[in-house]
Structure formats: C-alpha cells, structure tokens
C-alpha cells in the first residue's frame, strides 16, 4: 500500500507544480508530512541536495523521498508518478502542435510570447548571479562579502576562458565545459584564498 500512496502523492506533485521546480518544493513538503519516516528537518536538506545535484529538482526530490520511504522501488515509483503528468500533456501537445502552428494568429501570439519567455530566462540568470555572489546583501549592508569577491573572480576567469576559446578555436565553449571549469575554479579559489 505504501507504493500506491507514494505514487498518488507524487502524481499530485507532478500535476500541480507549475512553472518550474520552486513550486514543487512546498508540495513535496506536504507529501513528506504524510510519511512518518521522514523528519521535518531533513526537508531543507532534501531541497539543498536536489538543487545542487544534476537533474530536474522535482525529479530529484521524488527520487530522494521515494528512496527514503522504500528503497529503489520507491524511488522508481515516485519518479514515474512525478513525471507522468508533464509527459502526457507534452505528448498531446507534440501531436497537435504542427496543426495549430498553421494558424497565422497563433504564430503572431507566439511572437509576442517568445520575447517574454526569453526575458524570464535572462532575469533568472541575472538574479541567480546576484544570489550566488551575495551581491544584494553587499549592497544592503554596504560591505563586501567574501563570496562576492570569490564569485567575481570566478566569473572573470570563466569569461576570460570563454573569450580565449572563442578567439583560438573559433567556436563557442560549451555549457558543459563551463560547468566543469566552474567546479575547478570553485575548488581552487576556496582552497587557495
């Protein structure tokens, strides 16, 4: 019965977490309260781990809670339930998208919506940068934090590498390489300074 309970709970999480991972967190919190084996304090840890390991945060949370509740079968069932609503909705959309795209009004609507979506991506990138370097705190307290200096040094190093690679290899440095360089610089700077 624990499997069915796990499945239904994560089906609800998957069906109601609109607009990215952050809306999934409170829903998962509700779920964990329904399972006795998970303590309230460990939720903050779940979220921190889900955010910093690879993969979608919602999927990571489902796998994590599923594993804690009943091992590998739990992990698989919770994950399946979490992704099922998005999968079904997108499948229906994929089947009919081409037909709708023939409509001129629909194409115009998308040309208005797209700049808005790209704006969200840009703003998310900027606010992540501000959060990670604690720039906002620095402005408010008018003092320069250690993470701000480290963050700026890493950013400058990354941009220099990006431009150098661009100049020498005549092509763009991939996102994956930048992540690997980020990890190396993160380790280097925290241990050398």
């Amino acid at each position: 019965m624990v499997f069915l309970k796990l499945f239904l709970n994560f089906l609800i999480v998957g069906a109601f977490s609109f607009g990215g991972a952050y809306s999934a967190i409170p829903l998962v919190k509700d779920v964990t309260e329904r399972f006795d084996m998970i303590s309230a304090e460990s939720i903050a840890d779940f979220v921190a781990i889900a955010e910093s390991t690879p993969g979608p945060v919602g999927v990571n949370l489902a796998t994590f809670v599923g594993t804690k509740v009943s091992g590998l079968p739990g992990a698989l069932i919770a994950t399946l339930a979490e992704i099922l609503p998005a999968f079904v909705i997108m499948l229906l959309f994929s089947i009919y998208f081409r037909d709708v795209l023939q409509n001129r009004k629909f194409r115009f609507a998308l040309s208005v919506i797209r700049p808005c979506v790209v704006a969200i991506i840009m703003a998310v990138g900027i606010s992540l940068f501000i959060d990670n370097t604690e720039l906002y705190i620095a402005i408010n307290t008018k003092s320069i934090g250690e993470n701000l200096i480290k963050g700026l040094i890493i950013s400058i190093l990354l941009i220099v590498i990006m431009k150098l690679y661009d100049y020498i290899a005549k092509k763009r440095l991939s996102a994956i390489s930048l992540i690997v360089f980020g990890a190396i610089f993160g380790i280097a700077i925290n241990n050398l300074i």
Partner: protein, 191 residues
C-alpha cells in the same frame, strides 16, 4: 536514432544544475546548434508551454523533442534518458551519503558551478533574443517587450514578490490577444 536520442538526453540530465533554466542552455547547444532537431522558434515556444503546464521543464523538452524525432517511442526514450542520471545520483546520495553537502570539496565545487550556471543562462538568453530579433518582422515590438519583461521579472525575483512565472506568461498571452484584436498582427505581418 533512438540510441543518439537516449545518449543526448542522458548527457542533458547529467549536466543540468540549478533547475530547468540551466538545462535550457544545454538543450539549445545539443538539440538546436549541433543536431538541428528543433528550430529556435519552436524551442522558445516549448519553454512557454513548459512553463504554463505542470511538471519539470526537462520532461516537457524531452517528450516534445523525442516525439518529433521518433513518435511515442522517441518521447519515452528521451524522457527516460533525462531522468536516469537523477535517479542514479540521488539514489546513491539518499542511501549512502547523508551529509553530502558538508563534504568540503563538494560544496567548494558547487560554489563555482552555481556561478557558471548563472553565466550560462545569461549567455543563452542573450543568444536567444539576438536570434529572435534577427528573424522578427517587428524588431521594435520584440525589443520593447523583452526589455519591459526583463525589468518586471527582475523586480519580482529580487524583491520576492509573490507572482509566478505562469502569471507573467499569461499576461503576455493576453497582450498578444489584445494586439490581434486591434489588428497589429496584420499591420506588421509578423510571422
């Protein structure tokens, strides 16, 4: 084909850090720039739909691109590929590494990774809007919408205003309907 699809989405799942927006950059490089599986316009449209429907963006992307390449079986294979790294990594952590984030070398590495991810997201948004402007028939409208929405979303993010991205996209949908009603679509012939 199915194997390439699986491999590509496994790689995307493995290098997605910090939520769906980090993934957008890698999907763009792998599926648009390298393999040309979808167009830029299609890609941004999927993001809009992904944001307005429930579930992780990565799943929406994998399902759509997988379906386009190889129908239902493609959608299933791409989706399994994108979630498999999560299942493996999280299962191991949940089972064996209780204080994963307190391991010093890992938290040091993640500090750098988070900075890298934010730079990657900004770079991707820059390239997307540049391409959007290139193909737009009404560059003024595209640029104005982009600038206004960046300011709105930044305000919401930085001051913790309680408005979801769904509401933001909804406002763009309503705006597009108003523009169609007053005939802007005909006047400019945007395609």
């Amino acid at each position: 084909m199915l194997w390439t699809l699986f491999k590509t989405f496994f790689k995307i799942g493995l290098f997605t850090f910090g939520g769906g927006y980090g993934m957008i950059s890698i999907v763009k490089e792998e599926c648009i720039d390298k393999k040309k599986w979808v167009t830029n316009d299609e890609f941004v449209s999927i993001i809009a739909i992904a944001e307005s429907t429930p579930g992780p963006i990565a799943i929406n992307m994998a399902t759509y691109i997988g379906y386009k390449q190889n129908k239902l079986i493609g959608a299933v294979v791409a989706t399994i590929g994108v979630v498999l790294p999560s299942i493996i990594v999280i299962y191991i952590i949940a089972k064996y590494l209780n204080d994963f984030l307190n391991i010093k070398i890992i938290s040091d590495a993640f500090f750098g990774i988070r900075i890298a991810v934010s730079i990657i997201i900004i770079r991707t948004a820059y390239r997307l809007i540049r391409d959007e402007l290139k193909s737009s028939n009404n560059k003024f409208l595209t640029m104005t919408l982009f600038a206004i929405y960046v300011l709105i979303v930044l305000y919401i993010d930085l001051f913790n205003v309680n408005i979801s991205y769904v509401a933001i996209i909804l406002s763009a949908i309503i705006l597009s309907m108003i523009l169609i009603l007053i005939g802007v679509d005909k006047a400019n012939g945007i395609s």
